[in-house]
Symmetry: C2
Subunit: 347 residues, 2 copies
DNA sequence: GTGAAAGCGCTAACAG
DNA sequence: CTGTTAGCGCTTTCAC
């Protein structure tokens, strides 16, 4: 009678299982790890013992012996509002590959951020890293990734460094297509609210705006491009500045949804009717976009899918399945809702 | 010359540090773990060696030997929209106590959810659990917690079981005070949108609504209490039903902010002006609440603080600092914004 | 197919 | 205050 059967608290170990099944611990290990070379009859016997004893492999023991944690580390800036989707995507992949996710928010202005990240890998808490901007764009972090010999994949990062493992999206192209959409509605006075300068993706969106304007032969008007900071309040501020222009823009394209919500709030407050007098468009398609009124036309950045793909790539990398194409791009798509319409009085 | 100094990839171990500092590995261990009884001079020497060798303690080694993971597991339902605040709160506490957070979303309808959770603890991946409803309210999970001998703290859960480690909030009382606030504005036709029946906290909010109505001698009107499901769309549905009543309610109190946003959207769409013709109030104070227009009057549920407290309690529990008062309550507070006002034509 | 032996890197218990 | 010894529970290596 084992300790377990006597109702004692001691967890059963691989040795208990081996004894009960009448095999060696190595064989139990093989069964646990789904190794092929075990006779079916033996496998069954071991599995029965495992069930009977309610055996569950001890994670630290396995980690120590195998030198793998089966954990991925998700590194992000502490107050990112996008982390939810990314996390969910990463979890989607982890779940199917039997990995766990250790989340590690950090202050991207902290001086020893690279040290902190390195410790996760060097201390064997995680096998690899998933990184999100702006943390992933920091020089110190770049240097760590380039030289530190640690498996990683970035999500939505700079995508400039060659050989970098990354998953990105087509910010620029799709931003241009938003401008085309607005132009097709008849807008000629189109404003743009730029995103935070520390986020490289934001510059790409601005580039896309410029390209779209040019492609549609719409002039970029002085004072119609304003600098925001990605948050709601800066949308309010930028919106106020834009509404003071005369003539006003008929459409505002914002580099993210939070700022678009701010622009809409100030428009409401100023008695500017949406979308009749002002069309507003955002970028990201956060949940808010569908829940404000009028519902926001935006661009769905497939963050969850991107993160899932990133985690899958990372796990492949950890397994040594080297792939040639390590920089992947997932397409974003235009989502038209009620916040955009033809301008009331086309030029 | 050590391997490290030769630029090799092998990570240095406690033995390397001991050798370099001229002490035993046990002394190095003491320094790492901040144990008191080490002479300052020795400590300095060890610390220098650690720096020189870029030594970082191997987590699995320490986990295996100490039988602790220094990880907390955060268990929540996969598509919870509140998890962000909770996660951040838990991380606040973890960070200062040198714990890491392993996140574990699950499908609360899954039959083997208890097994899944048990495995985290039994497999020594985490030392203790932080649980959020509805997962924490499931009978199978309750049973596991009651009998499984695993350290845990629930957040915002049932708070009925005595002896349960929990952090809750005063949903009922504060819901009543929202009614008092609306009544003080002059509202007499107050509607309520109930939350998802699987969430116990939602029933408490409804109870609070009823109590508030009674305390203010306001009648609960037939057809003014409707059943929602916590999500935006159900707010739209419930709002539509309420607006069809005649006379209409002058105020709608919703059991959460998502539903309040839905009510506001359908009001906008129906040309009902907010807050003049209809006041809307929510519960939770999610980021959305401040970003819709008009900004939503709601109740700030201090989820982040609650989670931080829960994690702190859990860590105390893991350290054996038994506390008498294991059920804590953190007060929620009324946040008045622009979505509520005196009714246009008081009865 | 299966097993025996040797660690993985650390801490616990105790000895000094 | 410091060191020695003996594992923690598993995988790895290699032998059979």
């Amino acid at each position: 009678m084992t300790a377990r059967e006597r109702g004692e608290l001691r967890k059963s170990t691989i040795a208990d299982v081996a004894e009960r099944a009448g095999v060696s611990i190595k064989t139990v290990s093989r069964v646990i790890n789904r190794e092929p070379k075990v006779r079916q009859e033996t496998r069954d016997r071991v599995e029965r013992a495992i069930t009977d004893l309610r055996y569950r492999p001890n994670s630290p023991g396995r980690m120590l012996a195998s030198r793998r944690s089966y954990n991925l580390g998700l590194i992000y800036n502490a107050n990112s509002s996008y982390i939810n989707s990314i996390q969910n995507g990463a979890l989607d992949a982890c779940r199917s590959e039997h990995y766990d996710l250790l989340i590690h928010p950090c202050d991207y202005r902290s001086p020893d951020i690279a040290e902190e990240i390195a410790e996760l890998v060097t201390g064997s808490k995680v096998d690899g890293l998933l990184l999100v901007p702006p943390v992933s764009d920091l020089p110190a972090v770049r240097h760590l990734l380039d030289t530190g010999n640690m498996p990683y994949v970035t999500i939505s990062g700079m995508t400039t460094a060659s050989g970098e493992w990354s998953v990105g999206t087509n910010d620029r192209e799709v931003s241009a297509s938003m401008v085309s959409y607005l132009a097709a509605l008849g807008h000629r006075r189109i404003a743009f609210v730029r995103g935070h300068p520390d986020h490289k993706a934001m510059s790409r969106r601005y580039q896309g705006f410029l390209e779209g304007m040019q492609a549609n032969s719409v002039d970029v008007i002085d004072g119609f491009v304003v600098q925001g900071e990605n948050i709601f309040q800066s949308g309010i501020d930028c919106g106020r500045r834009l509404l003071q222009q005369s003539p006003r823009p008929t459409a505002v394209f914002c580099a993210n949804d939070h700022m678009a919500a701010g622009v809409m709030a100030i428009a409401h407050e100023s008695g500017v009717s949406l979308p009749k007098e002002l069309s507003v468009a955002g970028f990201d398609d956060i949940p808010l976009a569908g829940q404000i009124w009028p519902a926001l036309t935006t661009i769905r950045q497939p963050l969850r899918e991107m993160a899932s793909l990133a985690a899958t790539l990372l796990i492949q990398r950890l397994r040594g399945n080297e792939t040639d194409n390590v920089a992947r791009v997932v397409d974003a798509e235009l989502v038209t809702r009620a916040s955009t319409a033809a301008p009331a009085s086309p030029d």
